[in-house]
Symmetry: C3
Subunit: 245 residues, 3 copies
């Protein structure tokens, strides 16, 4: 059983976040809220998203798993207008999700979840923690896009840096300590990431003005931010590329 | 003889309506106003548009037929700015239409009308008549576009429904009686239409907030609406597709 | 040595003007300001741009030549926000231009200038001089684009005309004397130009509301206008096409 009502902007944010990694996802509708975990097909990145009951206008579930086509859900969202809640219900007989948007009823067949892995966020000790304005990350990404396909994230006790190096050109965004919301870093650490993944993740952050990053030296990066006015949490995990010397 | 002055927004609306079906059209400039009738090349749809003398700022004609290239007329419209009337004159010696927009003079050769058919709107008895907000039709079309290439229009005494069914998904917009401006329907009737035609027709309606539809069971649909602040009338006719059982 | 600070809108205007003709250009940074001269690869058009020291927020140079990639400079400009000056410095050791935009540092390798010609604006006596609103030129170009690949510029003592003639259609913009800012013309003169070049040049004029044109009969046209609030000057020169009779 699953029946809920949600603000279109909340569903939109959620869908955009998941869409950066997968076309179809398993929505676990627990009693206390919705949980989505997904790994991209190349196994480079992972997302874990939870939206508590309180993030919905109405919510009733008793724990089931729904295979959802993300692109189709985006289409449903295009029909919504601000201020008009979207109703979602699981029709178990027909194995469909039924969306109600205004006078429109959209029936969407669920996809098979048996092939979908149930990823576990690995237990990593990431020594660096820092919080940075989402707008700064975006600016750094935009600068990097014309220079390289990779981006290095570098932290040291004095601040945070995003660096992209091409054959002839380079670009970096340097944020000294006082431009960060928070930094915990004992020694310099640096990891290289595929720019497209990192860029898509950061672009999917729509409402959170601050992102917390956890990093290490040649280690994955974790991006943590809240959604739905704090009623939900997202963790992105992105694997590093090995830097060629 | 044909000489007229027209507001760009009126000419734009008129051109958009005709452009959904044909690239070239025969403009009949009668003493009392302009009449355009056209059938699309696949003979699936038909338009009949009339704009009375009063829909123009100035108008003089004594009954001739002008073969007009619709795309070129769109280009002329791109030169116009709101509040600046467009002058149109038939130069009979050179067989050109001469548009005057501000300081610009655009001479456009007329196209041959001999090959253009003179369609007659067939005499159909369509038992259902209903009036619906253009915005509702648009919403129903947008919802259907991701599901199927066809759309069923269904009326019964209680209301009106637009329904699209794909292989796995379906979508419908249901408008109960009280959300319609008007409905005359004795028994359920249902016809299936090609979505692209229906969509283009509805999208070409720019100023009319209400459309009157006449329908039957496996019968064509007629869309009727006014243009130019009621100074003109348009009828679209669209042939049904046979529903496969 | 070259070190400067400039408003992004000034650099943007400058870059757009040069980009109409070349992908790479030689920036001569003289003590008194910046000079750029460039010819397009087909040798049809030429630009000469000068921006005095006063057009920069800060400026220091002792006369050197920098080979600049115009497309990359456009990318740097995309990072800038209004009201935030861009710093530019020549790093002679690495032969790079170093742009500073907010917290971003963009290092760009200079391109080799040895292959770049040092065009001289030919000494032409162009008998006609007239000044026209940039917006009128734009309107005339927009009208011409759907009719022909060429545009004739025609001046006589009574005014100025832009004329495009296709196989069946034609369009002209006629500006009588009193709609011009200024005209000096003793006898009719007419030259034909490639529309794409002329269009790109006119579109690159962003702040100047008036352009001065110097023309002749089957002669090149010169477009002169100011940039950076009068702190800079641009001359475009465009070769004519021979009109086929």
């Amino acid at each position: 059983m699953f029946k809920a009502k949600v603000k279109p902007e909340v569903l939109k944010e959620l869908v955009e976040i998941v869409a950066t990694l997968v076309d179809e996802a398993k929505f676990s509708v627990e009693k206390t809220g919705l949980v989505i975990k997904a790994v991209d097909p190349a196994h480079v990145a992972m997302v874990e998203l939870s939206l508590s009951k309180g993030g919905f206008e109405e919510y009733k579930a008793d724990g089931s798993e729904l295979g959802v086509d993300i692109d189709k859900t985006k289409e449903v969202l295009r029909l919504a207008t601000a201020g008009e809640d979207i109703s979602i219900e699981h029709d178990e007989d027909r194995n469909q999700l039924v969306f109600q948007v205004g006078n429109i009823t959209r029936r969407m067949s669920l996809v098979d979840t048996t092939g979908m892995s149930d990823p576990k966020v690995p237990n990593l000790t990431l020594p660096v923690k820092l919080s940075v304005k989402t707008s700064e990350l975006r600016q750094g990404i935009r600068a990097s896009e014309s220079v390289s396909d990779h981006i290095a994230l570098i932290a040291d006790p004095d601040g945070f840096e995003m660096l992209s190096e091409g054959d002839t050109d380079s670009v970096n965004l340097k944020l000294p300590k006082d431009l960060l919301e928070e930094i915990e870093c004992k020694e310099e650490s640096r990891s290289l990431f595929p720019l497209d993944y990192f860029s898509n993740m950061v672009k999917a952050i729509s409402t959170a003005s601050v992102v917390t990053m956890r990093m290490g030296n040649d280690y994955p990066v974790k991006l943590e931010f809240s959604i739905a006015d704090g009623k939900g949490e997202v963790t992105y995990l992105l694997a590093p590329r090995i830097e060629s010397e």
